[in-house]
């Protein structure tokens, strides 16, 4: 009993890379019993690492976000030490089985019979090739729900398109509306907002399926398209364009409505974001920066005029921010009621006093990765952030208990282990 809202719900996590596993973890944080089913005979790149067994040299100089094993050392079992994976792996259990073989599929069927939700985000067709179809799942458990996340959804002419996060972003319209002012999308660097939205969509679809089953007794097949989800996240631009015919130009760091910018501060590569929505904000800013005479200046005394003279306003603000640290500038402006914030790098965000005061980071100790602080659940319930129930799950960590829960006898277990279904290591031939 977790006392959390999804207490008693069992989720099978077949997720790969980021969106599926992270969506499943959101459900785990909310109280569900989430079981990762992993294949020790197959390594899906970028899920538990770029490769199963990368050399220390090969990860020494890659950016930490894509190769940042603890201390830059892949260690004995790199798949239990990979930051992408470990971010998405708390509060889960893991069992291994090779779904490509009949006896593996049979064990998986037994697990499905105990589950409420299956989440998968492989390319369309992968589940079908394994025989894990919607129909097969329903035969194992009539009221099961299947949440499928893919780039283009499960139907339509582009269903089988190959796409990484950045292609989803290109197709979904992001690239052309997020360029710097006056620059093309070739000045954009990679961003994958659809991956995060995909994780939310997986969790959202799963919970709505639970509501549906409660009302009707039936499961649901949920189709989450990353492209469609992403277009929802820029929906007001679609609505504006479709209603007025107006072309939607990127606003860069500015805003379509207000005065806004990203201004340089004292120190190397330090910046503050300021948003001025009305006359009060302008007057407050002018006082903070010691230029009260500008409040009534005819060039700036309405929002429309400030926007018309945006470059001059930017120069006035930047002249002041350059003399102040980014935190100091933000604090002085916030004390006067102006929306402002320092642009925080990872080190600053990791140490941020507000995030720390609210317990956003949770410390977890995992046998292979050691003890570290991780971003925790993004919500507080009745004033508290729930303590992690389990640290980032290791490959096959719960084989013994889960196979026992499924009624597998010790003899069967030994045979499945000998046949390479049950393991805490990827097969030796996988580099």
């Amino acid at each position: 009993m977790t006392g959390l809202p999804l207490d008693g719900v069992r989720v099978i996590d077949l997720g790969v890379v980021l969106a599926g596993p992270y969506g499943a973890m959101m459900l785990a944080d909310l109280g569900a019993d989430v079981i990762r089913v992993e294949n020790p005979q197959i390594f899906v790149p970028m899920t538990r690492g770029p490769r199963a067994r990368p050399s220390k040299e090969s990860v020494a100089n890659v950016p930490s976000i894509s190769g940042g094993y603890p201390g830059r050392d892949p260690g004995e079992r790199p798949w239990n030490r990979y930051p992408w994976f470990n971010l998405t792996a708390r509060n889960k259990r893991s069992m291994t089985v090779d779904l490509r073989r009949p006896e593996g599929l049979e064990v998986f069927g037994r697990l499905v019979a105990t589950a409420d939700i299956v989440i998968e985000n492989s390319a369309p067709g992968v589940m079908e090739r394994l025989g894990v179809t919607w129909e097969w799942l329903q035969e194992q458990k009539p009221d099961i729900s299947l949440v499928r996340v893919s780039a283009f959804g499960q139907t339509g002419p582009f269903r089988d398109h190959k796409a990484l996060g950045i292609q989803v972003e290109a197709f979904g319209g992001d690239d052309l509306v997020r360029t710097y002012g006056g620059r093309g999308p070739d000045a954009n660097t990679w961003a994958v907002p659809a991956d995060h939205g995909g994780a939310l969509a997986a969790a959202y679809g799963a919970i709505l399926a639970l509501h549906h089953r409660r009302r009707t007794g039936e499961g649901l097949l949920v189709d989450a398209s990353l492209v469609e989800m992403f277009v929802n996240l820029i929906g007001p631009l679609v609505l504006r364009h479709s209603t007025t015919g107006e072309a939607i130009e990127s606003t860069g760091n500015r805003s379509r409505k207000w005065v806004q910018g990203c201004y340089p501060c004292k120190g190397e590569d330090r910046w503050v974001v300021v948003t001025l929505s009305d006359d009060h904000d302008w007057a407050a800013l002018c006082r903070v920066i010691g230029r009260p005479e500008l409040v009534g200046d005819v060039r700036f005394n309405t929002l429309l005029k400030r926007r018309a003279h945006h470059d001059e306003v930017d120069d006035i603000i930047a002249a002041w921010t350059r003399e102040h640290g980014h935190r100091e500038a933000a604090e002085l402006l916030q004390q006067a009621g102006v929306a402002a914030g320092p642009v925080l790098d990872d080190a600053e965000a990791f140490a941020d006093p507000h995030l720390r005061a609210r317990g956003f980071f949770v410390e977890m100790t995992q046998a292979d990765a050691g003890t570290h602080d991780y971003p925790g659940p993004f919500w507080l319930r009745n004033g508290e952030r729930p303590e992690p129930r389990r640290p980032p799950v290791r490959l096959g960590e719960h084989n013994a208990e889960l196979y026992a829960e499924l009624g597998v006898t010790p003899e069967e277990y030994a045979r499945l282990e000998a046949d390479g279904h049950i393991s805490e290591d990827f097969a030796p031939h996988i580099r």
Partner: protein, 383 residues
Amino acid sequence: MGGVLEGLRVVDLSTGIPAGFAARLLADNGADVIKVESPAGDVLRQDIYDFVYCNMGKRSVVLDLEDGDARAALDVVLDRADVVIESCDAAGRERYGLDPDRLRAGRETLIVISVTPFGGSGPYRDWRGSEHVLYGMGHEMYATGQPDLPPGPLAPYVSWLTIGFSAAVVTVAAMYGVANGQGGSHYDISGFEAMAASIDRRAHALVAYAYCGDPLTRGGTPEMFPPHANPCADGWVSVAAGGLWWEPFCRVVGLPELAEFRTAPAVGTVPEDVHAAWRNWCSTRTKREISDLFQGAGVPSEPMNTMADLLRDDHLRSRSFFKGVDVEDSAGMVPGPIVRLGGPEQDAWPAAPRLGEHTTEVLREAGVDERWIMRLTAQEATA
């Protein structure tokens, strides 16, 4: 399956985009969402597109919470609610008696969802947030863009609406818990934390930082050839040719200049004549032609779509993705469901409510006395 939340009542006391969008997502799925507005209306009404997008399918009730009788009427409405979504700052909570604990007092199964920029506790609790402020603080803005330029933008709305979507996930989970016999609860959702939890780089960059101690920087991730954004005959196209895709990429392009590279090289190491040959290859083809050629060879490639491209895209049309919606006296299109639950879908989505359009009907349903309703609506008319 538009009705999975049918029968559930949500009172939306919020203003602005994130909380408003969270409540709208519940309306999309059949919840009865009652938006309570001041006589002046939600500040979002100043931008009709934002307002419609975040409020389609809700009912609008005007209650002037400065007035004791209106505040009492709100309590009657709240007594029938399953969920309250609010975005008040500390001063507003104090002034209108909207503190989450006070809202929950005597309402044992009520779920209160607070969606604010920085949450209800901590040193920045009273800070004001804009979308860009939360992106700059919480998200990976610092490492987005070019090293010789300021940190760069994400698309407008993506951060705001991601925060709202995050809140909706928590809300439907809480509703499921209550439907299964749990008590009510209060969830405090901070935009700053919803951003810092984003796997659009920030959350796993924080773990990588904890593991290795180096923060992401702008320009810290070398780009592989071909670049992500490539100009072509009618716009821009994205191509990825790393790893196993390099060989089929070269085969499709057929440029002898590429033969010397066995794998995708870093953009910076590619000689100018190779760049020129590639740009020239792209310049004679449209983004759709290029994407089709590469997809035909199993190489990831997509056009960089404009809003107009999206609205006429064959794939999205085949899935009947866009839906019509009224925008005052005009009509526009909005994206379809954020996830598909199967079953029939309407071609059009319900309109956003006019200010106070449903005041009388909602107060009557809640059992507010007719004379009281008349007085409150008369006050509103004179306000």
